[in-house]
């Protein structure tokens, strides 16, 4: 598997950047000619991961969100969304559907969305150091 194209993006953890992140990543992936459904799946998964950096990782503080997108020669997209925020104590538990540490109106379904819309989801996290979510999807493209 060889990388054929790559992009990097660093964003302030402001909620207004949620839409910029998902739209710009999808524009970059457009060269693979994804279907409408594939685009919308990636958009939704990215939106969840970026929102988690803003809501959970940095909370009231402002920090950086580091995004890299790599396109491979077998039509796989790998997206890494990383923060240097509070980290996750128990990743397995955090990924369970409906689990949320924030009351209010978080549905606790962010990871469930990522897992059902992408082929692979990997989460690495360290308390007080940060979290890295890797999302992977094979793009079949339009006929």
């Amino acid at each position: 598997m060889k990388i054929t194209n790559q992009m990097r993006l660093t964003l302030d953890s402001r909620s207004v950047n949620e839409s910029f992140a998902r739209v710009s990543i999808c524009a970059f992936v457009a060269c693979l000619d994804p279907t409408v459904e594939e685009i919308s799946d990636i958009k939704t998964a990215v939106s969840e991961a970026v929102t988690n950096c803003i809501v959970h990782a940095y909370k009231e503080e402002l920090g950086n969100i580091y995004i890299t997108v790599a396109i491979y020669d077998n039509n796989v997209v790998r997206i890494k969304i990383r923060d240097k925020g509070c980290g996750i104590e128990n990743v397995e538990q955090a990924m369970e559907p409906l689990f949320t540490t924030v009351g209010g109106e978080r549905a606790g379904l962010g990871f469930a969305v990522m897992e059902s819309f992408m082929d692979k989801v990997k989460v690495r996290s360290k308390i007080n150091s940060g979290t890295c979510v890797t999302l992977e999807k094979h793009i079949s493209g339009r006929e």
Binding site: S15, K43, T51, R106, A107
Partner: protein, 111 residues
């Protein structure tokens, strides 16, 4: 993102327009809740026809309004979901609490 509210007898219809994410959900929520606490309707219809994108924040938005309407003894119905919005919504198991209607064209496509 915008929300247009219409009152019709004991019914309120909220027409949502644009992208629903964590950033845009908060103002939609407060506008809908304001009219609910004022009018105390027996039915809240949330119309998704002009919603171009939704992540799990939209699920939270509907569940929150369901709880509020439930306290008032009222009901919530969610209408005109596109294929992609329905795909997100159906992960929540919310169809047990709230009536969910897809758009006409989607119904024909997937029976």
């Amino acid at each position: 993102m915008s929300v247009e509210l219409k009152k019709d007898d004991k019914k309120i219809i909220a027409f949502l327009k644009g992208d629903i994410d964590h950033h845009t959900a908060a103002p939609i929520r407060s506008k809908i809740d304001e009219i609910i606490s004022l009018q105390k309707p027996s039915l809240l219809i949330i119309d998704f026809n002009d919603v171009s994108f939704m992540d799990s924040s939209g699920i939270g938005l509907v569940l929150g309004r369901y709880r509020l309407m439930n306290e008032l003894g009222g009901k919530v119905r969610v209408e005109n979901l596109s294929k992609s919005v329905y795909k997100v919504m159906s992960l929540s198991g919310m169809d047990k609490l709230v009536e969910i209607k897809k758009r006409e064209e989607e119904k024909n496509e997937n029976n």
